[in-house]
Symmetry: C2
């Protein structure tokens, strides 16, 4: 299958590499020129268990992409999705499936502006990957992903794509309710990412706070009120208990969430508008009280203005 | 007049010194032993315009205070008020007037547990003072204060106390609505103190944020909803505009609010429970929406747990 990875950072490179190894015709599309150039000149460096190897996979800038693939896997940053979709318009063929594996909420609404519903697949991935520098991806740990079609008539095609992904070792499962998984993952990010960023602490430290139990439930409650509008039933207590398991240092406790890494450590803009900010916007739209997420979004945006130069 | 300053930190020492100089019999009561000892052994050092002088004013720990004064001026930290009132119970005479000049909200409710209504005076002071070390107070700038009786029948006595204070150069004005001034000052603290603490910025930086205008109005709106329950009418827009004047670097713009100094700079507990936290508690009591202040209070308490060892 001809597969384009659109947004070939750490995770996109992992997927691209694994799909390439299993015999697909893969190309990487990314807006970071240094990254694209190194991959083309020296190959994509794959580091796994301390060993490096170089793999020849074509890479290109969005404006240079011309070939229409069978499948596009979207792995951009949330705030880069729409401009990327505009840039790669030429490679969005009539039959090109588009699988969105971005974190966050509302991406289907953005994609629907550029892609026919019947071609859209939504997914949630539990794989991880890191980038050691341009053209150099570090792989560790195990993962899996869930995939589902948006159009109820395209389940067969979605299952086929799951097979392609699983043949590459990516452990893809067809999901009957991927939206639920997307919302549940957004609750994890909407509590731990924003709170650890605002409080400048790691996940274990956050979990030890007296205020944490009530605070995460207040946040999740508002997520669940908005999710309900999309037919997704989130049980606040169940989601909260799931998050509380992550506090354990043997889980992700000693880890600073990605938003903390972005804003506090690296002074980069965050994905807040696609997590708490999405809930906040939809609250206004549906006239539902989302004051907790309104204020968390406001504080993170304020911190962005103070820290991102 | 025999006057006890209860809580003789920077501001209490300023008031004690000025009232002593104008001929009153002043004694200082404070729980900080090193401070009390130095004042008794070497005198209270008054630094003004770069010059120091030592003034002999008796100082004592709360448990050593025996003499009943005509007037007590309260200048403790908010969270120390109740335990201090318990400690000085013996000097609260039947006719001792008690003037509360603490920052924050709800102190009258605490004082009413220990002092007869007719003896309570509430005030707001615009004086400033700093402490360079135990027994060493630094005075600069000009100020004034407003004073009012709680019991409508004791206006005459309140005016007499204003006279005593003004004779000491403290520029005391009798106020017909001191509660309004207390709430308006609490709005300044409830916006700038908590926001600059959570965002780790100074007042000018806060004022430059895109989010600041809406954020302070949301906070003040909830203050005004609670204030209304006490017969205090706060005009949100007017209060907000008053706060926005302070952003100017020629005003307090380059200044970090006291809560930032306490928590972020010195890792000390804050007065949040007597500012935003008071509004939040009263919101629950009156079933009024104060979600913005609820969350700000939660975040500051969480930061206290992370920073105060």
């Amino acid at each position: 299958m001809k597969i384009a990875i659109v947004g070939a950072g750490a995770m996109g490179s992992r997927y691209g590499y694994m799909l390439h190894e299993s015999g697909n015709e893969v190309f990487l599309i990314d807006a970071w020129k240094a990254h694209v150039d190194i991959i083309n000149n020296e190959g994509l460096t794959i580091e796994e268990n301390g060993k490096c190897k170089k793999v020849k996979i074509p890479a290109m800038l969005p404006e240079d992409a011309k070939e229409v693939p069978d499948l596009i896997i979207l792995f951009t940053k949330s705030m880069g999705l729409e401009s990327m979709l505009k840039s790669v318009k030429n490679v969005l063929g009539k039959h090109t499936r588009v699988l969105c594996l971005l974190n966050g909420l509302g991406h289907n609404e953005t994609i629907e502006k550029y892609v026919d519903n019947k071609n859209i697949l939504m997914g949630v991935t539990l794989w991880t990957a890191g980038l050691a520098g341009p053209g150099h991806v570090v792989l560790s740990g195990d993962g899996s992903l869930e995939v589902q079609n948006i159009d109820p008539n395209t389940e067969v095609e979605a299952r086929e794509i799951c097979d392609i992904l699983s043949q590459a070792g990516l452990k893809a499962h067809y999901s009957a309710d991927v939206l639920f998984s997307i919302w549940r993952k957004a609750c994890v990010n909407g509590t731990l990412n924003s709170c650890c960023t605002i409080l400048d602490c790691n996940i274990r430290e956050f979990g030890e706070l007296k205020e944490a139990p009530k605070l995460i439930r207040n946040i999740i409650k508002e997520f669940s009120d908005i999710a309900a509008k999309y037919g997704v039933k989130l049980n606040v207590e169940e989601v909260a208990k799931g998050i509380e398991k992550i506090y354990d240092p043997s889980q992700a406790g000693e880890h600073h969430p990605s938003m903390h890494q972005d804003l506090i450590q690296n002074h980069r803009l965050t994905e807040i508008d696609y997590i708490n900010g999405y809930v906040s916007r939809k609250g206004k739209e549906f006239n539902i009280n989302t004051q907790c997420n309104d204020l968390l979004t406001t504080i993170v945006h304020a911190k962005e203005q103070l820290l991102v130069k």
